[in-house]
């Protein structure tokens, strides 16, 4: 068990910087997800913590010990790779116990621990097989068992589920989460799947171009995105963005493309009349209404996407597309006029030049 602290981490390949001065503190027992678009430096960051990649600058400490210059084997971390990285020439049991055997643990010590992790991950039947005779999901479980058996201080996962089909992904995701609740080992989990991140994380570190864009609980990231980038990255269907101008008057009103919306004065006290902003409207926060409701947006249905319990309705409002999600999507068909509304509390406002959220509380 250990906390992890990264201090002013810099990484460049040649002259090209990939990570530029990143600070990060992860408390003990926490399950942290590195989330971000492809190429933003998630794997690089993880591999530097693992010791597989050298830092160009900065220090990394695990459990209070500076590990920056230690080899991977001495950091007390275990890693699960996207490609599983099982040893093809060893049986499943040998794969799992290699680390312990290498440390010279006795047979009587290894056997019960092998039994324990094999049970935890449902691998009892496969222990004598070679990795190539297992399915992808089983192989990934072996990789997890191999990481777990040594009871490391930190688990590192680099997109461990992305080679699996959707159903298996969901199942293993839940299992990983359950195991974490049981073992409470500090964990960093890399993914570029925002839904995976939302469901599994205690805290999300959202990265962009080698920097941390926002760090917070899934709720904070979803409800209070610090920037337009975060708001756009998180949530399906993706957020609608509308340019708008703040109107003069008692109430806080924004005039956007084909819509007039009231904003929350308490959340955005600094907005001044005439200011140009960008509004963020989450499809999932909107609902059908009559045209005379406050904050109603009126348009014409372009397309209805059935998602089972709900449907995404894509509409055209003043020549641009705005989508919302509703359960009564079955009553709508393309060409219908439609009105929908969003409460002021759920409208996000971003500075139109910097993209920063203008929310103050």
């Amino acid at each position: 068990m250990a906390n992890i602290s990264c201090n002013d981490i810099v990484k460049s390949y040649g002259a090209h910087p990939v990570i530029e001065g990143l600070d990060l503190d992860i408390p003990d027992h926490e399950f942290v997800v590195f989330l971000g678009p492809s190429g933003c430096g998630k794997s690089t960051m993880l591999r530097m913590i693992a010791g597989l990649e050298e830092v160009t600058g900065g220090r990394i400490a695990i459990g209070g010990t500076d590990v920056t210059d230690l080899p991977p084997g001495e950091r007390g971390v275990a890693m699960v790779f996207q490609s599983y990285a099982l040893y093809p020439h060893m049986s499943v049991a040998d794969n799992i116990t290699f680390g312990l055997r290498r440390q010279g643990a006795s047979r009587s010590e290894i056997a019960p621990r092998l039994k324990q992790v094999a049970e935890l991950l449902g691998l009892e039947k496969f222990l004598d097989r070679k990795p190539k005779n297992l399915s992808g999901g089983q192989q990934q479980r072996v990789a997890m068992a191999r990481a777990m058996i040594k009871t490391p201080q930190v688990f590192l996962f680099d997109e461990p589920l992305s080679n699996l089909d959707a159903k298996l992904r969901e199942k293993l995701r839940t299992e990983i989460r359950k195991i974490h609740m049981q073992l409470k080992t500090t964990t960093i989990f890399v993914t570029h799947d925002q839904l995976e991140a939302m469901t599994i994380a205690d805290r999300i570190v959202l990265m962009r171009d080698g920097r941390i864009e926002q760090m917070g609980t899934p709720d904070e990231i979803y409800e209070r995105p610090a920037t337009r980038f975060v708001a756009d990255f998180i949530g399906t269907p993706a957020m609608n963005f509308v340019s708008a101008d703040i109107a003069a008057g008692d109430r806080l009103i924004a005039h956007g493309e084909g819509m007039t919306l009231e904003l929350s004065r308490s959340a955005f006290p600094d907005l001044a009349p005439g200011q140009r902003v960008e509004l963020g409207l989450r499809p999932a926060r909107m609902e059908l209404c009559t045209p005379d409701t406050s904050n109603a947006i009126t348009g014409r249905v372009v397309l209805v996407e059935n998602m089972g319990a709900e449907g995404q309705v894509i509409t055209e409002v003043a020549g641009r597309e705005v989508s919302f999600v509703t359960q009564s999507f079955r009553d709508l068909s393309p060409g219908d006029p439609v009105s929908f509304t969003i409460s002021p509390d759920h409208i996000h406002v971003f500075d139109s030049s910097t993209g920063h959220s203008l929310r103050r509380n």
């Binding site: 991977p72 890693m79 990285a85 093809p88």
Partner: protein, 271 residues
Amino acid sequence: MGKLISAILTRAVLGGLIVVALGPILWTVLGAFKELRDIVTPVPKVFFEPTLDNFATILRNPTIRDGLLNSVIVVSAAVLVGAVLGIPAAHTLARHARKWGDDVQFFVLSLRFMPPVAIAIPFIVIYLDLGIYDTLFGLVLVYLIVTVSTVIWLAVPAFERVPRNIEEAAAMEGCGPAEIFWRFSLPVAAPSLFGALVFTFVLVWNELLLALTLAAQNATLPVVAASITSLGKEVPWGVINAATVLLVLPPLVFIGLLMGLLNTMVRSGPK
């Protein structure tokens, strides 16, 4: 019905191909056990009284016996040292010097473009000066150029096919570079390396020109075989056949041994 006919036809064609491919070899092996009069009869004999005389003649003949011994010594030394030097070098090239890897590999390959005569003549001069002309040691030394370069050339891609993540996973478990090489890279790449070694072995086992020019007195088996075939009309066919069998046998034994080694290496892993 059509299916059956096509299956039968396929088999017949395959059978024919096998006979064409293996026939001469089989005939040679049979000939090695025949007496001369059984070989030169106008009607080929399939059934005959086998004899070991031909092998006895060969093994009693000091030139051939020494040739066999010299070949075994020179080739095993060259392949062994070539493997010991070439395989780790190939791993390093594949893993740590990727940016020069292609150049080095091409350079190594380019050594093979040169006609052997171009090497042989300067080597005669150098070897005479060094006093190692016509020695097995000198021959091993030139053969090392062949074995090291061939092993590197073939082993670099073999190591490149070993997933880097496997080596990284081993590093995460505390293995140092040497341990990673022995316990992971080498066993995982072993099947491809095996092919590389066999190829190298056969290459030098069959080498004639360098052996002829640099070690005419300490002749290897190909040199001896070449001299037998120039005997003229009075050909001791049985002896030649037996010599051929002897020439082919060591590579087969070598392949068998290597295969066994490979299997144990792949099975056991660390204890």
